[in-house]
């Protein structure tokens, strides 16, 4: 199968899975902004998604997307290290024209996936998971009150009351920002949808998009911390 056997095919899978994750991030970020406007509206969104079949199916597709992207990232990175050879250069010097993010996509992605694990343990484990397995014990309780599976707004303020979480989330989102500033135009380049005219445009779009998405997420973190 050329999608896995050829270098360009493997890159195509990377690019399509990456763009799919970008699409998801856009929805997720827009949804989160609702939390700043109104707690009730946000919990309404949480209740609408909850553990309904469409939310569960969406989560499964998403997990598959992350898995494919991650698996191919490992495969490509290992193949590329082998192609580079055993003997490394003794002296290397940075090229100002080469973006730092482009040389560190795997490390940035690894930070993203670690952050994702932490994030799932904060929210998914107390929202969708308890409903899926039908266990009340998994609901979060801070001694004073128990947070309902659809009380997303409550979980936000509970999580970000802790400054350690705020720092973790901001670092995580910064790594995502770097990953996206390179990833987005790189995906268009991989698809072949690029040329000398579009290159600066895609770079500008990537920078703006990454900034809007990451700041959108960070805004909710800060809101949770101060509200």
């Amino acid at each position: 199968m050329w999608l896995t056997k050829s270098s360009v095919g493997r890159k195509l899978i990377m690019s399509i899975s990456g763009l799919f994750l970008i699409l998801f991030l856009t929805f997720h970020m827009s949804m989160n902004l609702v939390a700043i406007i109104s707690d009730e509206a946000y919990n309404g969104v949480c209740a609408f998604l909850g553990s309904n079949w469409y939310a569960v199916a969406g989560t499964a597709v998403l997990a598959a997307g992350v898995f494919v992207h991650f698996a191919f990232a490992i495969m490509l990175t290992l193949q590329n290290r082998r192609a580079r050879g055993e003997q490394r250069y003794a002296v290397t010097e940075n090229q100002p024209k080469v973006e730092w993010a482009s040389q560190n996509m795997f490390v940035l992605g690894a930070i993203v996936i670690l952050g994702l694990a932490v994030h799932l343990s904060h929210f998914w484990a107390h929202m969708m998971l308890p409903e899926l397995v039908g266990s009340e014990e998994l609901l979060l309780s801070d001694g004073v009150k128990t947070y309902a599976a659809t009380d997303g707004a409550g979980l936000i303020s509970y999580t970000f009351k802790n400054p350690v979480n705020v720092v973790i989330y901001v670092l995580w989102l910064c790594a995502l920002w770097f990953h996206l500033t390179h990833g987005m135009w790189s995906a268009m380049q991989t698809l072949g949808a690029n040329n000398n005219t579009w290159m600066p445009r895609w770079k500008m779009i990537s920078n703006i998009f990454a900034t809007v998405v990451c700041f959108g997420f960070i805004a909710v973190v800060i809101y949770g911390a101060i509200a």
Partner: protein, 251 residues
Amino acid sequence: MEKNINITLKVWRQRGPQEKGAFETHQLENISTESSFLEMLDVLNEKLVKGGQEPVVFDHDCREGICGMCSLYINGHPHGKDTEVTTCQLHMRRFNDGDTITIEPWRSAAFPVIRDLMVDRSAYDKIMQAGGYTSVNTGGIPDANAIPIPKTIADEAMDAASCIGCGACVAACKNGSAMLFVSAKVSQLALLPQGKVEAAKRVKAMIAKMDELGFGNCTNTRACEAECPKGVSISNIARLNREFICAKLKD
């Protein structure tokens, strides 16, 4: 203005592909800043031969930036720090008195060291043999105006054709990817009517050969474009991807 400088060279020495290599340090005095980098290496080799030592092996031919034979990774850059010049066009006026210059061969699994600074770049020839040509019978020389080609397209094809096959793109790439070279060779033909006929077959054959020879997967870092002595653009890589994906989807 001409002056003479004293420099220290750290040169990679390796007796053969399987042998272990190491750096060797040499002092050179009174090197004219008017001389080219390769002339400076000629001075070193003369000194070595006179002292009864083996000269340093390095590739070169035209010494005017057109053949693509010269290589060398100089102070962390293929073809040295200057932009859009080959090693043979690099001059000693770019260096200062007292400088230490580290010279390494291209390092990439698909370009094994033959000896010292000389690497085996025949992988590029194999990619060309896989499809980097047109097999149509062209007959006599046609009238230049017989096939109308828009100026912008002709210019783009010409820019792609300026690739001299030196391998600096692979040497610069952290993934050891040959995509800039292959994209230039695919583009110079795919852009023109004569090359379009076999474009789909060509791109599939050349990419398959490139993968088979152990070059890496391009992750669009752009190090190749920044170091290419001919300024070949990665917009050619976008075209290569486009040609390849379309050809595969049509199958």
